[in-house]
């Protein structure tokens, strides 16, 4: 049905205008940070139309020479390792929760949600005291272990949802054919849930990559991750906006492709049913 009445056109124009306004809201900060990253230090406080040609790569060179790349590497190490560890432990657990007839599954789902929702300050206070006494402050081991509190509940929860969508018959058939449970898991269930597993790993990686609070408390200079290292560009008397802009871009670019891949599955990780 094509509706060409004028009232419909007015509504359509209103809708398009709304979308453009919202697009402007969504895009302005992104465009602004790109502009800021290329501005000369001396011109950064001038309106852009007064010195549009004050363009430079100095901010990018400065970041490349600073300690920031090492902090990015630290972020990669921590996000990668804690995600990998949580996948090894969490994927079979998600499978078991989705397919077994264990009682108390509801409480497991509550616990997983609660761990995801609990205020991080609650985890960090005891961890901090423990780490101070155990000499684990500012170590990769300590940080990776701490991040397991973020990645594990997320990965178990989202794999539970992914495996729930694999038909029970598929696994039953494999077991009828004489496969062990382990084989049925590795050769039937896991391949069927592979997109979900990729998404769970990406989400785990992103949650650690994004973290600011844990790293702020339990790292010092040697294992500092990128989100905390950005703060070094702010000192008591001045803020190095050019470097901050470049660092913000450097923080976002590596995960942008992951986000584009994972966005469809973010929904699933919440609940298979919300899909509709």
């Amino acid at each position: 049905m094509i509706d060409n009445t004028s009232s419909f056109r007015v509504k359509k124009a209103f809708g398009v205008t709304m979308m453009l306004v919202l697009l402007f809201f969504a895009a302005l900060p992104t465009v602004w940070v790109l502009i800021m990253s290329f501005r000369e230090q001396a011109a950064i406080f001038e309106p852009i139309w007064e010195s549009p040609l004050a363009v430079t790569l100095d901010n990018y060179r400065g970041i490349a020479r600073s300690d920031f790349p090492k902090a990015l590497l630290n972020s990669f190490i921590c996000a990668g390792s804690s995600t990998l560890l949580a996948m090894i432990v969490g994927v079979p657990a998600g499978f078991a929760l989705a397919k077994s007839r264990l009682s108390g599954k509801f409480y497991a789902s509550w616990l997983l949600l609660l761990l995801r929702m609990a205020p991080p300050v609650g985890f960090v206070i005891p961890l901090f005291l423990l780490y101070v006494n155990a000499g684990l402050i500012d170590t990769y081991f300590g940080l990776i272990v701490a991040y397991m509190t973020l990645t594990l509940p997320l990965i178990v929860w989202s794999m539970w949802n992914s495996f729930a969508q694999v038909p029970d018959e598929l696994i039953e058939a494999a077991i009828m054919d004489g496969a062990t449970l382990g084989k049925a898991f590795m050769q039937v269930a896991l391949p069927a849930a592979r997109p979900g597993a990729v998404a769970a790993a990406i989400l785990g990686f992103l949650i650690v990559w994004n973290d600011f609070f844990y790293a702020l408390i339990i790292t010092r200079s040697s294992t500092v991750t990128a989100p905390v290292a950005v703060m070094n560009f702010i000192s008591y008397d001045s803020v190095d906006w050019g470097s901050i802009a470049v660092a913000s871009i450097a923080l976002t670019l590596p995960i942008l492709p992951l986000m584009v891949i994972a966005n469809r599955y973010i929904v699933q990780s919440l609940s298979g049913a919300v899909k509709g």
Binding site: G15, I44, L113, M117, M259, V260, V267, K275
Partner: protein, 296 residues
């Protein structure tokens, strides 16, 4: 399979499942339950990083909580941030989702453009919005200056600072709402709206009476998840306002951090964290029940 061997096979299978679950149970026990137990124990103690500790356990932290004016202030700040943040995220996210599905059709680039803010780590979000709210730097201020309009400095007033955090929070999180609502919209069969149209419903009527009711579970889920996340506000407060001006943006999670790591009062910080945790426990119980109802 004969009926006799089935119970035994099932029992064996269940044992297998239990073995697969065991490492995770163990890991959750170590990585999550132990710290939480530690937090609970600390909240009843008198642990202080400077003043020293007598390991004298009792309810005094919780008694103090009940009459702590700063805590009340922090709950107010948290409520304002949560309420307005979640509200704008849900409204903007839903508007864009409807727009993307109805007006622009299958515009994939639009989807990616709107998704972009969600990919920016929160510290970067906070820094970018701090720059937008710094009057000497902001292009918004510079633009309005051209017309002789002075944009007020948001971060120096109480409500302005709260609004600034809500805006930054909304900017980075509306794509989450958008994604969920969009997925829910796409899950609705077009037949339903066609049937409504055949029955003489207008587009507006079919949206409000057919589409919207089907979106309610998605709205509920999104609101709850965003609400719970909003209780954990930290990087934006830390970067943009440091809890100020005064204590006006010191939300509860941030207040627990201040008590623990700036005032060195670990026990009291832990008591605040326990209180927040109990709130999260109630909400997550409700979410788990909701999830169970939707999936079964």
């Amino acid at each position: 399979m004969t009926s006799k061997s089935q119970p035994r096979a099932t029992a064996e299978l269940e044992r297998g499942y239990r073995n697969m679950l065991l490492p995770a149970v163990f890991a959750v026990g170590i990585f999550a339950i132990v710290p939480l137990a530690g937090m609970l124990a600390l909240s009843f103690s008198d642990y202080h990083l400077i003043r020293g500790t007598n390991w004298d356990f009792g309810f005094k932290n919780f008694v103090r909580l009940a009459s702590d004016k700063r805590l009340m202030g922090s709950v107010y700040a948290m409520s304002v941030l949560s309420f307005f943040g979640v509200l704008t995220q849900v409204l903007i996210g839903a508007a864009i989702a409807v727009g993307l599905s109805k007006i622009v059709g299958k515009w994939r680039l639009g989807r990616v453009l709107f998704l972009l803010p969600y990919a920016v780590p929160h510290v970067a979000v906070a820094l970018i919005w701090l720059s937008l709210f710094t009057p000497t730097l902001s292009p918004v201020n510079a633009f309005f200056d051209l017309f002789g309009i002075t944009v007020p400095s948001f971060l120096t007033t109480q409500n302005g600072a709260l609004l600034a955090i809500v805006m930054a929070d909304t900017w980075t999180n509306f794509p989450f709402t958008m994604l969920i609502i969009l997925a829910a919209l796409q899950g609705i069969s077009p037949d339903l709206e066609e049937a409504a149209a055949l029955d003489g419903a207008t587009r507006v009527q079919s949206f409000f009476y057919v589409t919207l009711p089907l979106l309610i579970p998605a709205f509920l889920m999104v609101t709850l998840f965003r609400f719970i996340d909003s209780l954990k506000h930290f990087p934006m407060i830390f970067v943009m306002t440091k809890g100020g001006p005064g204590r006006s943006t010191q939300a509860t999670n941030y207040y627990a951090y201040i008590q623990t790591f700036q005032n060195s009062n670990v026990a009291y910080g832990a008591a605040i964290a326990v209180t927040l945790f109990i709130v999260a426990a109630f909400i997550s119980f409700y979410v788990a029940r909701l999830n169970q109802r939707i999936t079964s």
